[in-house]
C-alpha cells in the first residue's frame, strides 16, 4: 500500500500518557508500516499551533493524572473549535480515559466543582468522591459488531451518556462508563471514547485496523481494504485474558 500515507496527531504525549497509552500510537504506527503505509506521528504538546491539527488524518489522546489534566484543559479549550470541526467532519480519533471525559459537557469533581468540557460528545462525568472507590480492573466489552474487546480500566469518574450519542460497547466484565448501565465508552461519527487502556489497541488489532481503514477512506475518499497481518501473538495475548475470566472469544 505504498501510495498511501497518514498523519496521526498525538495530543499531549508529554502530559496525557500515564497508563501506557503510547502503546496505542505504536500499534497504529507499526500496523501502518507493516503494510507499507507511510505514517507520520505528530506530537502536539501544550502550546501547539492549532493549524497543525488540520494536517492530521487521525487524532489520538490518552489519559493522565488530575493535575496534568488541569494543565491540558486550559490549553485544549483554546483549540476547541478546530478539534470540534474535525470530529464533526468525521476525522477518526481515539480518546482514552481523561481524554474521553474531556470531550463531554463537564466533569464534576468530588467537592462539587464543575469543570467545563469541550462539549463535543453528549455526555458528562461525575466523581462521586470519598466512600466510592476507583473503578479498577481487567475489563471485557462487546463492541464493533459484537466483537470482544479486552482492556484494563482505572478511573474515579462515572460517565453518563446523553441521548445524542451511542455507547462504544456493552460491558461483559468490569465497570464501563459508570458501573450501572453496562455501557462502555462512546462513539460519535468516527471518534471513539473509552475507559479501556491496557493499552487497548495492541491486544485488539481489529480495532487498530478499523481506525487505520477509516482514516484512509476519509483521506482518499474511496473504500479501502487493509490486507491482514500475522496476528498470532496478538490473539494469544487476547485469549489468555479471556481464559482467565472464563469468557469465550
Amino acid at each position: 500500500m505504498k501510495n498511501y500515507s497518514l498523519t496521526i496527531g498525538w495530543l499531549y504525549p508529554e502530559l496525557m500518557s500515564t497508563y501506557g497509552d503510547r502503546g496505542n500510537v505504536i500499534s497504529l504506527q507499526k500496523r501502518c508500516e507493516w503494510r507499507d503505509i507511510n505514517v507520520k506521528i505528530k506530537k502536539l504538546d501544550v502550546g501547539f499551533d492549532q493549524n497543525q491539527l488540520t494536517t492530521c488524518d487521525m487524532i489520538f489522546m490518552g489519559g493522565a493524572q488530575d493535575k496534568q489534566q488541569q494543565i491540558v484543559a486550559d490549553d485544549l479549550m483554546k483549540k476547541r473549535e478546530e478539534l470540534k470541526k474535525m470530529i464533526d467532519n468525521g476525522i477518526p480519533g481515539l480518546y482514552i480515559c481523561g481524554a474521553y471525559q474531556f470531550l463531554g459537557k463537564y466533569y464534576k469533581e468530588a467537592n462539587g466543582k464543575v469543570i467545563n468540557g469541550l462539549k463535543i460528545f453528549d455526555l458528562f462525568t461525575v466523581n462521586p468522591g470519598i466512600g466510592f472507590s476507583r473503578q479498577i480492573g481487567t475489563s471485557v466489552i462487546k463492541a464493533l459488531n459484537n466483537k470482544i474487546i479486552v482492556g484494563f480500566e482505572n478511573h474515579g469518574g462515572r460517565t453518563y451518556l446523553g441521548k445524542r450519542i451511542k455507547s462504544f460497547g456493552k460491558v461483559i466484565k468490569g465497570f464501563g462508563n459508570n458501573g450501572n448501565d453496562q455501557t462502555e465508552g462512546a462513539v460519535y461519527k468516527n471518534s471513539f471514547g473509552t475507559y479501556l487502556h491496557g493499552p487497548i489497541l495492541p491486544k485488539n488489532p481489529q480495532f487498530a485496523d478499523l481506525l487505520i481503514k477509516l482514516a484512509l477512506e476519509k483521506k482518499y475518499g474511496a473504500p479501502t481494504n487493509l490486507f491482514p497481518l500475522e496476528d498470532s501473538l496478538e490473539i494469544q495475548a487476547r485469549t489468555a485474558i479471556a481464559k482467565i475470566l472464563k469468557i469465550k472469544i
Binding site: S27, G198, Q236
Partner: protein, 429 residues
C-alpha cells in the same frame, strides 16, 4: 500481652523457617497488630533505638542494605525489616524478631523500608524517626498506589508534624521529592543528587514530574539523568533545584546510575550521623546485594544475574545497565499478581525500541508472557521466544547462554521470587 505476642511471633517464624514455608516475615506482625493495634508504638515507646525510614518508588531495599552495611561494619547494632515486607505488618514482624523476651529492643538503629502508601500510617506509629530518606517518585502500579501527585500530597501532609528530631534526606534531582521540603515546619533537610555526566536534554517518555510542582509551568532542565531526574528549574515562579546537594562519592559498589543515587543517599545519611568518608568506603568494599537486586547466582557453571525491574523507569535503567555490562542473553519475566500490580500497561512506557537489536538470545515468560511478547514484537525485536511455563523458560534461557557469558534476568517482583526458587531450590519470602 505484648510479651506474649513477641514469644508467639518468634515461635511462628521459627516453625515457618523450619518447614521452608518462607521466612515468616509478615505473619507474626500481622497477628500482633490484630491483637494490639498499638503494638508498634508500645514497643518503641521506651526504646533508644534510632529509626531510619526509607521510601520512594525504586531503590528502597538496596539503600537499606547499604546503610545497614555501613553501620554494622562500623560497630553499630542494626536491624532491618525484610526486603519487600514493607507494610505495617512487616515492620511489626521485624520488631518482634529483634526484641528480647522482656520486650526490649537493644539495637542502635532500626532501618525500615516503607511502601509508598504506608509511609503516612507509619508516621502515626513512629513519632520522631531520626531520618526519613525519600529516594524518588515514579509511576508504579497505578492500580494500587494511584498517581504520583496523590502520593506526594499524602506525604507532604504527614511530614507537617515532624520536629527537629527528624532529618529528611531528599533527592534534589526529583522535583516532586525536593518539593516536599517547601512546606515543612519542623524537620531538618539534607539533599542528595548526582552530577549528570551527559547533558542530554531529551526528556524520556516515562517522566512524571516535568512540570513545576509549585506553579505547574513546564520545568527547564539543564541536565537530565533519567526520567524526570536532573538539574531542573522553573522559569515561571523561580522554584529550582536545591543548591546544597551531596552529589558524588569516590566508590560505588553496584552498577547503574540508579545505584549512584542509592549510594549517595546512604552515604549522606552516614555522614550526617558522623562517619568519616574513609570509613564508609572501607565498609562498602565487599558489599553484597540483596536477593534479586543485581544478585549473582552460579547455575551449573553459567553466571546468572537478576535485576528486579518493576516499573517503566526501573526497567529502562536495568536495560541500560545490562547493556553497559555487555549483556547478550536476556530472560524477561512479567507477572500481574498483587505485588506486581494487576495492570501491565506500563510495559508500553518502557523504551524497548532502544534495545531491539542489542541482544542475541531473548526468552520471555511469566503470567503475562504474551503481553511482554507483544511489546517486543511492536518494538521490532529481531527474535525472541515466548514460553508459558517458567521452569521451561529458565532452562531454555540457560541452555542458550554460552559458558563464558551471563544470563540477565529482568523480572517483576513475584516472578523474581519464583525464579529464585527455581534457581536455588529455596523459598525466600
Amino acid at each position: 500481652m505484648n510479651l506474649l505476642l513477641i514469644l508467639f511471633g518468634n515461635l511462628l517464624s521459627g516453625i515457618s523457617r523450619f518447614f521452608n514455608f518462607g521466612s515468616g516475615s509478615t505473619w507474626p506482625g500481622h497477628i500482633a497488630l490484630s491483637v494490639n493495634k498499638n503494638f508498634i508504638k508500645d514497643l518503641l515507646k521506651n526504646s533508644k533505638t534510632k529509626i531510619i525510614l526509607i521510601a520512594g518508588t525504586n531503590g528502597k531495599t538496596t539503600t537499606g542494605r547499604l546503610i545497614q552495611t555501613i553501620l554494622e561494619k562500623n560497630g553499630r547494632k542494626v536491624f532491618q525489616n525484610q526486603a519487600g515486607a514493607n507494610l505495617l505488618n512487616g515492620i511489626a514482624s521485624s520488631l518482634i524478631s529483634n526484641s528480647s523476651l522482656l520486650g526490649k529492643i537493644e539495637k542502635d538503629f532500626a532501618i525500615f523500608e516503607i511502601d509508598e502508601n504506608t509511609l503516612p500510617l507509619v508516621l502515626k506509629e513512629i513519632d520522631n524517626p531520626s531520618f526519613i530518606i525519600i529516594l524518588n517518585l515514579f509511576r508504579d502500579q497505578l492500580d494500587r498506589y494511584g498517581e504520583v501527585n496523590t502520593i506526594s500530597r499524602k506525604w507532604s501532609e504527614a511530614f507537617k508534624k515532624l520536629s527537629k528530631q527528624t532529618t529528611l534526606i531528599l533527592n534534589a534531582d526529583d522535583p516532586q521529592v525536593a518539593y516536599l521540603a517547601l512546606h515543612l515546619e519542623g524537620a531538618n533537610v539534607n539533599y542528595f543528587g548526582i552530577n549528570a555526566k551527559n547533558s542530554a536534554n531529551k526528556i524520556q517518555h516515562a517522566s512524571d514530574s516535568i512540570y513545576c510542582p509549585n506553579c505547574s509551568a513546564k520545568l527547564f532542565y539543564k541536565t537530565i539523568c533519567f526520567s524526570h531526574l536532573g538539574d531542573w528549574s522553573c522559569g515561571e515562579c523561580g522554584y529550582k533545584h536545591p543548591q546544597k546537594t551531596f552529589t558524588s562519592f569516590p566508590f560505588y559498589p553496584l552498577s547503574g546510575t540508579y545505584n549512584e543515587y542509592n549510594t549517595n543517599a546512604a552515604v549522606l545519611l552516614a555522614q550526617t550521623i558522623g562517619f568519616e568518608k574513609e570509613k564508609i568506603i572501607v565498609s562498602l568494599k565487599d558489599f553484597k546485594p540483596v536477593f534479586g537486586r543485581q544478585e549473582i547466582l552460579n547455575i551449573n557453571g553459567i553466571r546468572v544475574q537478576i535485576f528486579l525491574s518493576k516499573n517503566p523507569t526501573g526497567f529502562n535503567e536495568s536495560l541500560k545497565t545490562i547493556i553497559n555490562l555487555g549483556a547478550k542473553n536476556l530472560l524477561l519475566l512479567l507477572n500481574d499478581r498483587i505485588p506486581d500490580g494487576r495492570d501491565v500497561s506500563w510495559i508500553w512506557d518502557v523504551d524497548f525500541e532502544d534495545f531491539s537489536s542489542k541482544f542475541r538470545n531473548v526468552v520471555v515468560s511469566g503470567d503475562r508472557v504474551f503481553d511482554m511478547g507483544l511489546r517486543l514484537k511492536y518494538a521490532e525485536f529481531r527474535s525472541f521466544e515466548t514460553e508459558k511455563k517458567l521452569a521451561n523458560a529458565v532452562n531454555m534461557a540457560i541452555s542458550k547462554t554460552p559458558k563464558n557469558e551471563t544470563l540477565y534476568i529482568l523480572t517483576t517482583y513475584s516472578a523474581m521470587l519464583d525464579v529464585r526458587k527455581i534457581l536455588t531450590g529455596k523459598k525466600i519470602l
